[in-house]
């Protein structure tokens, strides 16, 4: 809630001007760490990256750098690995994003329920695994999903289901990664919980008086009110899928195993730039990712008035 700055009035203009100038100087001084950092670590590299994408830069032969025109961009259309990486990433989005919304929402509903005894303990414990370093997360889940000795397949065995060899099977590795991601929903759960707690109780009471069942209340009261938060999570999950790296790297030893099925976009970018040292093409891939993420974000923001409900208009 920014208050209107008082306009300087004729008589006092001069001392006020001095005061304002002082305030600006102090303000810039305090902002300077970010201003400098933004310039050195964000603005310049972003532009340099764009420039690199038009070259064949290789750090082993920096002197042989030459202008490559649009050839890096043309290469995208014929590069089978690029197509594969996009395919893997999109498939992962389709499999994992619904879970990234539904599971935290379900958990938030659970730990928000007035009928759950020991709510705070549950909140803490559901949040806890998202504090566990990704490397450990991967190691533990690989154990859980190990073909013979893992608990998951043994549990399935109880129901006479022969579990797949999750991380070794190219058809099952993306579902396995999705399942693994369930451990990291803590943050999303807390944000959704905050959203649920913001739903005015009068609305529930009114719906109850009108004879709405609990499912109807969820559908027509809770969902519309928390839709902005679901929207926010959706944007985050989509952007996150394009940046998905660590899990894929560890699971596949950085090679996209088995058979390229975990060659996520970001992993391909890393390999291009840092294993094959083709930094010109790497910069191209990075910029394409940036543009795609930007387009997705803009697209989602455009569609939001269709399904996102904002109390009070905006």
């Amino acid at each position: 809630m920014a208050k209107k700055v008082e306009q300087p009035q004729g008589k006092q203009a001069k001392p006020r001007n001095n005061l304002m100038r002082r305030e600006i100087r102090w303000g810039l001084l305090f902002l300077s760490p970010w201003l400098i950092g933004f310039f050195i670590f964000t603005l310049l590299p972003t532009l340099a990256s764009l420039v690199f994408s038009f070259t064949n830069y290789n750090p082993l032969h920096p002197d042989q750098i030459s202008f490559a025109g649009l050839s890096n961009y043309a290469r995208l259309f014929t590069d089978p690995f690029f197509r594969q990486a996009i395919g893997v990433t999109l498939r992962f989005v389709l499999i994992s994003v619904p879970f990234a919304i539904i599971i935290p929402l379900g958990l938030a509903l659970l730990v928000n329920s007035e009928h759950l005894l020991g709510k705070n303990l549950y909140r803490t414990l559901f949040f806890m695994p998202s504090m566990i370093p990704v490397v450990v997360n991967v190691m533990v889940w690989r154990g859980i999903m190990s073909t013979e000795t893992g608990w998951l397949n043994r549990m399935l065995g109880v129901f006479s289901i022969q579990g797949p060899s999750w991380f070794q099977d190219e058809r099952w590795v993306l579902p396995a990664l999705t399942l693994m991601g369930v451990w990291g929903v803590g943050n999303a759960m807390i944000i959704m919980l905050a959203g649920l707690q913001n739903v005015p109780t009068e609305l529930y009471d009114a719906a109850k008086v009108d004879g709405a069942t609990s499912i109807q209340r969820f559908r027509h009261v809770t969902l519309p009110i928390i839709s902005p938060i679901i929207f926010y999570q959706l944007v985050l999950a989509l952007i996150g899928s394009f940046q998905y790296f660590t899990q894929a790297y560890i699971v596949s030893n950085g090679r996209g195993d088995p058979n390229g099925s975990t060659m996520f976009y970001n992993l391909y970018l890393y390999r291009t730039a840092f294993n094959f040292l083709d930094m010109g093409y790497g910069a191209t891939l990075a910029w394409v990712m940036f543009v795609v993420v930007l387009l997705i974000t803009i697209f989602l923001f455009r569609t939001q008035q269709r399904w996102v409900y904002y109390a009070g208009g905006e």
């Binding site: 102090w26 305090f30 902002l31 154990g143 930094m279 990712m289």
Partner: protein, 358 residues
């Protein structure tokens, strides 16, 4: 007619007492919650149990949940495996002396004087008898193999310096955004926020080349120094917090002749401890977890590795040695989990939410 005379208090069969009806939702939801929680935390159970298993116990075809080994029974100086053998007198624990295809010879440890006797039945289908037999050897072994001590030291140094850097710089910048009327400051703030959606891969390659050129490749500096230039999330969180502190206080201090530094130090910061703790913890956890940047900048410098890339190196060895992997995992998460439980309020309530809400 007759029906009317019959209608004595005909209670439905399952009439809950009002008390039970009130309790029922609590029982259902709490049970459901408990089941989901147990499933959710099962991997931690797997980790803790496997960490105490030997490789033989992990591979055991009858694999047990608990770290357990089959028991042998020594009869006349020779060890024989104990099996659960179904006999006429129920299932008995017998030592298998001479295995045969359809019938085998056993001895009863409860009554060895009775000597060897034969029981019909395929011994291969009988379960061995287990005893609880955990090993702690995985912990020292994996500590040595992964060089966890060095990894811990490296990670703690990087995380601590980065935390100091991000706290110092983000506080200054957030104070600047919260309290000073600089022309164009709202545009600057929008730029700051929009850097959140900028994928870091976009800046990665030039930044990497820049750090290599100034000789920082293979050092910790690229992992620490950039954090001294503030970061959008932290500035955002702190700015929101600073703005909730009434301005009257700093105006009063300014009238008394306090400089903006003094206002920040004596008025703003003392009231922002929870936000500062949150930002510090976020960064510490980020650094503990960070994978991409150490991978890129510390390539080939094993002595400088952090926990995350250091442990990944051993990922493949560990694949065949789940016990070692889980022991190392338990040690690697001990510190973050202790910190998390000490400060769980910061994460689970309040501050985190106020930061993201707007």
């Amino acid at each position: 007619m007759a029906s009317q005379t019959l209608s004595v208090p005909a209670k439905p069969r399952f009439q809950l007492t009002p008390r039970l009806r009130k309790l029922l939702p609590y029982i259902t939801i709490s049970t459901l919650g408990l089941v989901i929680l147990l499933l959710f935390l099962a991997p931690l159970g797997y980790m803790s149990l496997t960490a105490f298993k030997t490789i033989v116990q992990v591979r055991d075809p009858h694999s047990q949940w608990l770290p357990a080994s089959p028991i042998n029974y020594t009869y006349q100086g020779v060890e024989y495996p104990l099996l659960l053998v179904p006999t006429e007198d129920g299932v008995q624990e017998l030592a298998l002396v001479r295995p045969g295809r359809e019938e085998s010879d056993y001895v009863d440890p409860q009554n060895p004087e009775a000597g060897i006797f034969t029981v019909v039945g395929r011994w291969r289908t009988f379960e061995p008898v287990y005893e609880f037999n955990p090993t702690t050897a995985n912990f020292p072994t994996s500590w040595e193999q992964v060089n966890l001590g060095r990894l811990f030291r490296n990670t703690i140094i990087i995380a601590t310096l980065g935390t100091i850097g991000t706290l110092l710089s983000s506080v200054l910048v957030a104070y600047g955004f919260a309290r000073f009327r600089v022309p164009g400051i709202s545009i600057l703030f929008i730029i700051l926020i929009s850097t959140i959606i900028l994928p870091r891969q976009v800046t990665l390659i030039p930044t990497y080349i820049f750090f290599r050129t100034i000789g920082w490749g293979g050092t910790w500096l690229p992992l620490i120094v950039p954090h001294f230039f503030a970061n959008a999330y932290n500035v955002f969180l702190l700015r929101q917090y600073f703005r909730s502190i009434p301005r009257d206080l700093d105006e009063a201090a300014t009238l008394d002749g306090a400089t903006p530094w003094q206002v920040l130090w004596h008025v703003i910061l003392p009231q922002s401890i929870p936000a500062l703790i949150a930002v510090g913890l976020f960064h510490f956890f980020f650094a503990w977890n960070d994978f991409f940047e150490p991978l890129v900048y510390l390539q080939g410098r094993e002595d400088l590795y952090t926990i995350s890339i250091g442990m990944t190196q051993f990922n493949n060895i560990f694949n065949t040695q789940p016990g070692l992997a889980m022991a190392a995992s338990m040690m690697a998460i001990a510190l973050p989990l202790i910190m998390f439980f000490l400060a769980q309020r910061v994460f689970v309530q309040g501050i985190v939410v106020t930061g993201v809400e707007k």
